[in-house]
Symmetry: D2
Subunit: 351 residues, 4 copies
């Protein structure tokens, strides 16, 4: 941490800062310039945070040097992590495709979508039973009935299930059906929910908030990790910018930036970032080429009748394109495409 | 609603759209241009939404004409609403100041802050007992002990209490202590929380999400209203932009824009938008002059020791400036400054 | 300047930085922490910039402490400046209204608009003869004929003229007709144009780029100042954000922020920021209340036929509202409303 | 075009709109809804634009349906164009690498960088002789001496030259030395410069403004095209967002979006978008995989001493990575890697 003193700061002001820092068990080095004096702090940053130095007399600014997250940081955990979801790995050596319908609508639609997902190279099934929607008048999901459909389709296809939780109170209801719990973009800052999934005994897929910086996203992961759950996969899904040609702007650079800052795997959602079916295939190629550990894709047997985000769901012939892309790009990126399990699973949580 | 057909759309495609609309109980008018055909829809927009027209063959785009919110819209409720909080009105004819400490730290600090709030012209006391913080290592609030402190200070000063809820599960705990429940910026999209405060029997202060459009903000209010609670006050508190000189960019234009779209009162938080003490007074002047129905301001008896957002809390001499501003600008804006109740209140919910 | 060393930096790396800084005539203080070492630099920042320290081995980051602009900074020029335009002052003690049509269309329209401007309290006339338009198919202005119309209207009304230059080559053509040269938002980064107006012998109105930070805006002013012209007035006109309810988002906080960083006057353009007629009056109130040194407003005798930005031009009855606002807010803000000169002027450049 | 009437619009207001449209040679179809009436327009959109319909009584909004650009649109030119630069093609069947130093500093540095560019797979040499810099105190380039160095290096290596123009007045000076003229991000809205390169007889590389929408970028291209020059290559180089981990946010989705809207080739600049050396290789992979027609990369023999943007210039070993990437991804994307010309060129303009 570096404290920048104001031009008008007195010697007394500088001394006061040094004393506070030393009283908090740290050390302080003063560099006196022509117009500015700066004080470099050495010691426990959390203790310094509590000193409120930016509010002390004569202090112009306090500049933080090290990252405010710890458990998810790569600094003390240089090897990138592998997270297992119902036995399926997500990590630096594999390429994992998650696919399925945005919303579970019926057993038939979900099963058909799961077969499309498999055809596209997926080894995990996504599907929403609880949908957080901007409008209270939009389709809100099937609830527990949707969860049972997902579990049945998992039994039928062998694809472990990724599904969203939107409320701390329903984590207990959803967890038994799910192999992985998804936190959606609008809930990235829902700290009560983050803490709830931190103790739910399931891996977590944490989507980036569309208005959140990379640092805030990693802090949200830290909330989960702090409760003892380090089985977290990050998912970049586009940020909000001034550009209106796409629903959001996919921040493709976030993938290598996050992989350098954190040991957690990071995947990309090319469906929600663009919000357009015609962008799913090119953005999937970009995501895999930039080095993502996987992708998550909306598929639907009949997008024209989809109850949620039909504009972006892919179907034939995009499915064939995706299967081709993942098959070709995996070896190029030094990764093994994760294959679906050979036969139907035995329930969630199998590792 | 207007459906724009693609240049390559056939007559059959256009007919299919018209038939779908008519089958849904609406009517459709076709305008055939040189390169484009458009279809104007007349009838129930929600029914049309369910048709997924943007996914039909030959459809290029679907343009929505009317607003997607209803209960909070001014279209069918032209008079601007007055919301009463522990007897104190917020609305078009008054100017209401809410002030207090960002976080409740102790009885002494809260009482001192409440006296400062009164001195600044406030008739409502804000104070946080549950704090949603970006970092899990930051101060998280006193919890129920903080609520009791707030209730005691209300008894002492007569100022009704505005306090934040951060979790659906704690609404039941917080409501009995509070005269108004605050939804913070990070929870504007927390739909479970919005629904919980919709049935809590308390007025709600709904802060705008820092990454949310005005339309999304009004949709969040619609979630609360849909549960039967129309006692909602909106609070503009800055949006996230590329500018880094201020913590957020106060969207001052949002005040008149919202007042035109919705009948709900709208106030401004000059403390959190700028994140800097030196901006609180000028931004308060701007907020009142633009026509806000009130302001909400962080005050603290000793910002140097504040456990939360001390950088932005005002103290003497800004308190005097604020008292002067609200006294002078109220009559200019044709408003009456809301005065604190003459004597100590009798508990929350008094209207 | 502070150099942050990477965790893996060696003693040799640190020594190399210190030596480079000393060889450049500066001094360096090393603070060694548990995981990081930082080096505080004292001396000529420009000399340090040339060292490319961020590219040296072992260097993680270089943090700049002081502002990169000098001539326009308030640091060495604490008194706020007064700029005179055709004899009319813009500065800390006055409130100056600039008004007129977005584009000069005809002598009649310009004269009518000038009378409206006067009625609204303006002492300076704005009008565009050269229009930078996003579309090459949009109205591009009358060129020199427009300049002559402006000069005639100045003679008739006594209002000095503010008009835009869009090209270094035309500065010579425009300057003799103008009392103040305007640089538009799209040209804030047009360095050749900035340099050209730096030697044109006229005060300059520098609009903020809609995608520019406050620091970049002040750097653009520094370009002009560096050529010897310190007669610069800054104009906030909205920045581009994700919000689409308004054309741009007026960054009202920029006014006090700039007034603290720079000695130059700063005014607000409520017409272009909102892009909506109904926002001009409330945003003008906000601008004056926040402490702006003036405002610039689009007026048009018949907005329905305006060739440029008719959606935002005000006419009766907004003119009366504006006249009332500036009359009432000037004394409240401790300012004198600048009055138009008593009789017709004697040409540009009169100070 | 669709005109949306306000709820309070009268029959007379609707009739007035219809009459105006018919008087302008178009036709209008009225769809009367329960709360809204809309009028669909058929005919010449430019003529309708001139009617200022949004300012007519009773009109709430005017919605544009078709794109405002024509010459660069793919609507009337479905085949994607191939642009030739000194004989080197950029288009849908090739993958073209442009590389070189951000700024020309000396003959030795430029030649060394050109050899690195070739090693990385480049067939075109970029290098700046005129540098637009945010700070007037930053390095501004060698000017004409830099142009002569570039021409000499072209003779030596056979790589045609891409170099920036920053001012209409210097286009005449630069064009004889250049095979392609670059318009930088800060000049995308410099309409005088766009028009100047429109008649300069050289292909143009048009970078996207960091604050510009895709539509504005295509409108800027339309300015050049309107002067008769359709040899335009678009270059995505990142947009400004709230994220600060990277200098800009590479809008990777812009590549497929632009390729659908326009027939012009589009390339990506992975160096300036990220502003970080460690991102150049992954972002190059993403750019090629998303379908870009090429990339433009900063290389420098010794980034530690670079006078401009040294933080992002690549050197060995990234050069080898890049050579590998372009060799492997070209065939996968169905493209031929453009090879440098076999021997030294015979001057600019050879097609």
């Amino acid at each position: 941490m570096v404290v920048v003193m104001a031009p008008e700061a007195t010697q007394q002001d500088v001394d006061a800062v040094v004393e506070l820092v030393r009283a908090a068990g740290g050390d302080a080095f003063v560099s006196r310039g022509v117009t500015r004096t700066i004080v470099g702090l050495v010691g426990d940053v959390d203790a310094f945070d509590a000193l409120n130095l930016s509010n002390r007399r004569g202090v112009l600014d306090v500049v933080r040097i090290s990252a405010p997250y710890k458990l998810v940081s790569r600094e003390h955990h240089p090897d990138r992590s592998v997270i297992r979801v119902g036995g399926v790995p997500i990590g630096p050596d594999t390429l994992t495709v998650i696919a399925g319908p945005c919303a579970v609508e019926s057993p038939e639609q979900t099963l058909a979508a799961a077969h499309m997902a498999k055809a596209a190279g997926a080894s995990l099934l996504r599907g929403g039973a609880f949908k957080p929607r901007t409008s209270p008048y939009a389709y809100q999901g099937l609830g527990e009935r949707g969860l049972r459909i997902l579990a049945d389709v998992r039994d039928e296809t062998g694809l472990p299930v990724v599904t969203e939780v939107i409320d701390p109170a329903s984590v207990e209801l959803v967890a038994p059906y799910a192999d992985m719990l998804q936190i959606g973009t609008r809930n990235m800052h829902n700290f009560a929910l983050l803490q709830a999934v931190g103790t739910a005994g399931r891996p977590v897929l944490l989507k980036r908030g569309f208005g959140a910086t990379i640092e805030e996203w990693l802090m949200a992961a830290e909330y989960i990790a702090q409760r003892g759950n380090l089985d977290i996969v990050l998912c970049e899904r586009g940020i909000r910018t001034f550009e209106t040609a796409t629903r959001n702007t996919l921040d493709i650079s976030a993938v290598p930036v996050v992989q350098r800052l954190s040991h957690l795997p990071v995947i990309v959602d090319p469906s929600h970032s663009g919000g357009r079916r015609d962008l799913v295939v090119p953005l999937t190629r970009a995501a895999l080429a930039v080095g993502a550990d996987g992708v998550m894709i909306d598929v639907h047997p009949d997008p024209r009748t989809a109850l949620c985000d039909g504009d972006q769901a892919v179907t034939r012939p995009e499915i064939d394109d995706l299967a081709h892309i993942v098959a070709v790009l995996s070896p190029l990126m030094g990764r093994t495409l994760t294959r679906p399990r050979a036969r139907a699973g035995v329930g969630p949580g199998t590792r």
